[in-house]
């Protein structure tokens, strides 16, 4: 009797929740700073995919095309339209702090993705740690090369935070080992530049063991340069980001030895949004865990990085 009562209670609760779920629907405004980069296209795709299983969610996407003021206008439009939640991946911290604060003060929960805003006026920040990923790449190189060797580093852009962190993290990871970075150059995240810089590295040094590029297209460009010189078998290529159509594909094809994921947080943003909608408390800061892919583990979906 008690058992059937409790089952009945559970069923009642369930149907009630379902009913509520059907009745209530939410609109999420997603403001992306720039869709020119594949990684950001992937972020939007992850948000879309995360929301797919929930018919009660509608996501409105806006692309600010790398323009702070346009992104500011998008946030203001979302507030005026009365969306239930805003996900924003801001272009720059300072110019977008005020619009994010305005939305937050208007009672709209704001999830900040990947890049930060200043102060505390947002609901939740979700991001990955470039420095940790760079350090993990460094430690992986030390193990892989047996503690000594010559490395060329193709840097993203040293005036950007991801570039600085991927650089300093990597240096931390190889500290104390016999790994020497004998060539470094800015390739501005672009494959043709990486290829050009790598050609110079190849012309100058005959004893490169590994190329560490700050993103996977950079590693691929370096590989193309080495292949043109007939030296692609003499060295390893690693990079960061591990998008399915870039880094993961290159690892699968044997072009890159490893790719380290820089997660977009798109799926986690939707999960967090749902918890906010259901009245749960969410933590202010979420650091995403990251995976790495090598030839050995790629078919199993990569391995989690440990700190």
């Amino acid at each position: 009797m008690r058992k059937s009562l409790s089952i009945g209670f559970v069923l009642l609760t369930l149907s009630f929740t379902l009913l509520l779920g059907q009745k209530k629907s939410w609109v999420i405004g997603m403001s992306q700073c720039n869709l020119g980069e594949p990684w950001r296209v992937q972020m939007n795709a992850d948000v879309k995919k995360g929301a797919e299983g929930y018919p009660e969610l509608t996501v409105v996407f806006k692309d600010a095309q790398n323009d702070n003021l346009r992104q500011r206008a998008h946030l203001e439009e979302f507030v005026r339209a009365g969306v239930d939640l805003i996900i924003v991946s801001p272009k720059e911290a300072a110019p977008l702090t005020a619009p994010v604060r305005d939305a937050y003060k208007n009672g709209i929960p704001v999830i900040v993705l990947d890049r930060r805003v200043l102060g505390e006026d947002y609901t939740c920040f979700i991001g990955a740690d470039n420095k940790k990923i760079g350090a993990a790449a460094g430690r992986w190189v030390v193990t892989k090369l047996g503690g000594k060797g010559s490395v060329a580093e193709l840097k993203g852009l040293m005036t950007s935070t991801p570039g600085q962190d991927r650089h300093s993290g990597f240096r931390e990871g190889i500290k104390g080992s016999g790994i020497n970075v004998i060539f470094e150059a800015d390739m501005k995240w672009l494959e043709p530049n990486a290829r050009k810089e790598m050609e110079s590295a190849l012309a100058r040094f005959s004893d490169l063991d590994l190329v560490y590029a700050h993103n996977d297209p950079g590693a691929h460009g370096a590989y193309l340069a080495a292949r043109a010189a007939g030296r692609e078998k003499q060295m390893l290529f690693i990079g960061i980001d591990a998008l399915p159509q870039e880094g993961q594909m290159y690892v699968k094809q044997g072009i890159m030895a490893a790719s380290f994921e820089y997660p977009t947080g798109g799926r986690e943003a939707i999960e967090t949004a749902l918890r906010i909608f259901h009245g749960e408390k969410v933590q202010k800061e979420m650091t995403l865990s990251s995976r790495f892919f090598t030839k050995e583990n790629i078919d199993k979906g990569g391995e989690l990085l440990t700190n």
Partner: protein, 328 residues
């Protein structure tokens, strides 16, 4: 000084040649442990500037006939995307795909040339519009993503297509591995432009309308048609450059070629062709291509930081132009 020697020293070709020698001397001093003296370094430089050089060929024609084409980088991206879509996704024959790509690039040129000639829109404005339009078209047909050998299927997973033979051909090297195919493409483009400008009546008409449009019109030159022709040829070379870019990147990137128009213009101008039109030769453009290419290579093999590179490049461009133009 003998008049013939003075004439020789004052000719733009001599000056551009001297600029190139100066740049090369810098390379001899800063030779990065001897790598400047290896042929491989220069072969790679020639590969790397080929795409820019092909754009500069079309740009020379437009500039000589008194115009300017800001759309070359975008139209090139459109070419790269179209070529990749046709060869990788639709698996067309490379030659057929190349034909369609060239037609698309030329069509962009016809359109912008027609707007300039028919409605008397300033070339700067009209090609600026085409620059935005072609970039948008490239993103539109590629869905905003790079067209690579990773082909997305309906369920969101990726299948991996093989690299088309046309891509492998474009990224190969010939003549005992000493010359990249894209460099040969550049050389062919240069020769075609040189023949066009110096040996045909159309070439002479380009100089005529660039020098004095009104005078050319009174002497019976079909000004509008010549203008359209110049932008059409520029669009055609953009498409060729786009295919070379796609072949080397093993993908068609709708974001490729941003800022390439400025490099192409710099190559034309550094050679000594004036932006006022009516003057200049392909030889000068070739020298301009080599000056910029060598300069970049020297900075690169010495691993000079990006900040310093930009500062130095700015100074050297101004210096070269002053050296060119003071007593023209």
């Amino acid at each position: 000084m003998a008049p013939s020697l003075r004439y020789f020293l004052q000719s733009p070709t001599t000056r551009a040649g001297l600029s190139l020698i100066l740049v090369l001397l810098v390379g001899v001093v800063f030779n990065a442990g001897g790598s400047f003296f290896e042929w491989g370094t220069h072969r790679d430089m020639l590969r790397q500037i080929s795409v820019y050089g092909i754009l500069a060929c079309g740009m020379s024609l437009v500039v000589i006939s008194g115009g300017i084409d800001l759309a070359v980088g975008s139209v090139m991206a459109l070419g790269a995307v179209v070529f990749s879509l046709l060869t990788i996704h639709l698996q067309w024959n490379g030659l057929l795909a190349a034909g369609v790509t060239v037609a698309v690039g030329s069509a962009c040129g016809v359109l912008v040339g027609w707007v300039i000639a028919r409605f008397k829109v300033q070339p700067f404005i009209a090609t600026l519009a085409m620059m935005v339009f072609a970039r948008g078209a490239a993103k539109l047909i590629s869905g905003g993503e790079k067209i690579s050998t990773a082909v997305q299927t309906a369920d969101g997973s990726y299948e991996y297509a093989s690299v088309p033979s046309s891509f492998q051909f474009l990224d190969a090297r010939v003549l005992g591995g000493n010359v990249a195919v894209v460099t040969l493409v550049l050389i062919v483009c240069v020769i075609l432009c040189w023949l066009f400008l110096s040996q045909t009546v159309w070439g002479r008409r380009f100089y005529a309308i660039g020098g004095n449009e009104e005078a050319a019109w009174y002497s019976g030159v079909p000004v509008n048609r010549m203008k359209i022709l110049s932008y059409t040829l520029s669009g055609l070379f953009c498409a060729v450059a786009g295919m070379c870019q796609a072949g080397q990147e093993v993908q068609g990137d709708p974001e490729t070629g941003v800022g390439y128009e400025l490099t192409a213009i710099a190559m034309v101008v550094i050679g000594g062709t004036t932006l006022r039109g009516g003057r200049g030769t392909m030889g000068l453009t070739v020298l301009g291509i080599l000056i910029i290419g060598s300069l970049e290579k020297i900075l690169s093999i010495n691993a000079v930081g990006e900040e310093t590179r930009l500062v130095l490049t700015g100074i050297i461009i101004v210096a070269a132009v002053l050296f060119q133009g003071t007593r023209s």
